[in-house]
Amino acid sequence: MKNLLELENVHTYIGQYHILQGISMEVPEGAVTVILGRNGAGKTTTLETILGIKPPSKGTVRFKGEDIHKLSLHNIVKKGIGYVPEDKRLFGTLTVEENLRLAERNKQDFHRERRELIWDLFPDLKRAWKRPASTLSGGQQQMLSIARAMINDNSIMLIDEPSMGLAPKLVQEVMSAVEQMKGLTTVLMVEQNLKVAESVADRCYILDNGMIVYSGDIKELVKDEELQNNYLGVTV
């Protein structure tokens, strides 16, 4: 399988702190790749480095064979990278429809097909179509956040801890949406919950103190209790 996104020896600092300490990563096209790790391991920073929010001080980020680590955030996004941040960051005064229209890069192309796909995946959003985003529940806001990244034909979606703060039933709904994305786009997802990650991931990386300590098939990780204990602090 061809790699869509590659990170090579990437170092990122936040202030004086050396967060990513030379990570290398490959994200194959069409697959769901998950980054696991404890709090503060550098998972969110990895996504933010890819997007140029926290540009790397050293190393290369390559998307579809093109170096993107020197581009600005808005230009990186325009290459076809969708982002679902951890804290959703919706526009509360705008309606569900307006949030999606705003996210759409090709304004002439708010096409029925995508909209209906979103309605199929998240029927709640169809019902709340004309409501301000601030009036949605936490789960609905997460759905809108994901839908917003899906409205464009992005080649890859970066999703940051989609299960965080959600009730188990809603986590299931969100994961089933991620599962359905598989056929449509590539996914790179950050997750703390191994059980949740296992349900959708094809491949995984474990980050610990800004370094990659495991990469491979998630099924192998599920079998390896020692690895889970050492780097995730949990066992499935």
């Binding site: 997007l51 929010i53 600005s72 955030l73 808005h74 996004v77 325009k78 982002y83 941040p85 960051r89 919706l90 526009f91 509360g92 005064t93 705008l94 307006e98 229209r101 705003l102 996210a103 890069r105 304004k107 917003r148």
Partner: protein
């Protein structure tokens, strides 16, 4: 009855729908059009001219603060620049009115772009500080360069072109200026660009994540706001027929801020309501006491405390509440 009205509104489309939507504005416009025909009072005409001009000035501030979240502490820079450059070109260089307008518009564009690129790239607060610093600099220049500007005594003899005389003609001219500014404003904030500005105000970083070049959008806004404020300053100078350094001082910026906050930030009608409340109040209070600014400060604090959204949104909330109560009572009966 209420139901019939809702049905009627839903059925209307295109121009009739737009006319119906802005029916109160249209009624007001008709009243303003006939006003000079029924009153001989030059004082009231002058006051309304001031209201029309300051409405546009407040629209420009509302675009920045209310719709995009950009705070400017030196918006008087554009207002005063329009007044001084326009007035001096008219008096000293004898430039025709129609040539002065494109010149001051071009200066406003250049000034906004330069300040925007230099400051908004870093942090929003720099824009506020730099605009205040430049406005203060020009205020000092206007005060000290007495040979050219008349210093603190000001400079008179700035007469509008013959076509805009007498006062009634100037009244209609500024009314048209306000109406055109409003038409543009409504169109602009309801356009996709307007939605992006709202998104920037709500969450700048997130807007960037969606692939928008936030800096460019902010510069578009400050250029538009700069042009509006510059023209307001020039037309105000023509209305007063006088130039004074106070056009560049912090009180003028505070006027725009007051009107925006009192009327309601991020609302269509807010700038007009703000100007209608602030300007006549200024005139009335200044005739009774020299401490009118203090009273204004107290009113401002009270509005911020008790009507934090401004007059328009707060009154709308009250009206919605009353409407809901009325419907409940009707359904019970």
């Amino acid at each position: 009855m209420a139901m019939n009205q809702v049905n009627l509104e839903e059925k209307m489309t295109g121009i009739p729908a737009a006319l119906w939507r802005y029916k109160y504005g249209l009624i007001l416009l008709v009243l303003f059009l006939i006003y000079p025909l029924v009153t001989p009072s030059i004082y009231h005409l002058s006051l309304l001219i001031e209201v029309f001009i300051f409405t546009v000035f407040a629209i420009s501030y509302n675009l920045m603060l209310g719709y995009t979240g950009i705070i400017s502490l030196g918006h008087a820079l554009f207002f005063g620049m329009g007044g001084y450059v326009g007035g001096l070109l008219m008096v000293e260089a004898d430039y025709p009115f129609l040539l002065i307008i494109p010149i001051i518009v071009l200066i406003a564009i250049a000034l906004s772009v330069i300040i925007g690129f230099l400051t908004l790239r870093v942090r929003a607060i720099f824009f506020a500080m730099v605009t205040m610093a430049i406005a203060t600099f020009f205020w000092i220049v206007a005060q000290r360069w007495t040979d050219m500007t008349g210093g603190d005594d000001g400079m008179g003899g700035i007469i509008p072109p013959d076509l805009l005389l007498p006062r009634e003609n100037y009244y209609y001219f500024t009314l048209i200026f306000m109406v055109l500014a409003y038409l543009f404003f409504i169109r602009f904030v309801n356009s996709p660009t307007g939605r992006i500005l709202e998104a920037i105000r709500e969450n700048e970083e997130r807007t960037r994540h969606l692939g928008y070049n936030v800096l460019n959008f902010k510069i578009i806004v400050i250029v538009i706001a700069g042009i509006m404020a510059t023209l307001s300053g020039f037309f105000y100078t023509l209305s007063m027929r006088f130039l004074h350094p106070s056009y560049l001082d912090v009180d003028t910026t505070l006027d725009a801020l007051l009107m925006t906050v009192i009327g309601g930030m991020g609302t269509i009608t807010g700038p007009f309501i703000g100007a209608v409340v602030v300007k006549p109040l200024e005139h009335v209070m200044s005739t009774y006491t020299e401490h009118w600014l203090l009273i204004f400060g107290i009113i401002y604090v009270l509005i911020v405390l008790f009507l934090p959204k401004g007059l328009v949104p707060s009154l709308k909330d009250q009206a919605d509440r009353l409407r809901l109560l009325g419907r409940k009572l009707l359904s019970k009966n």
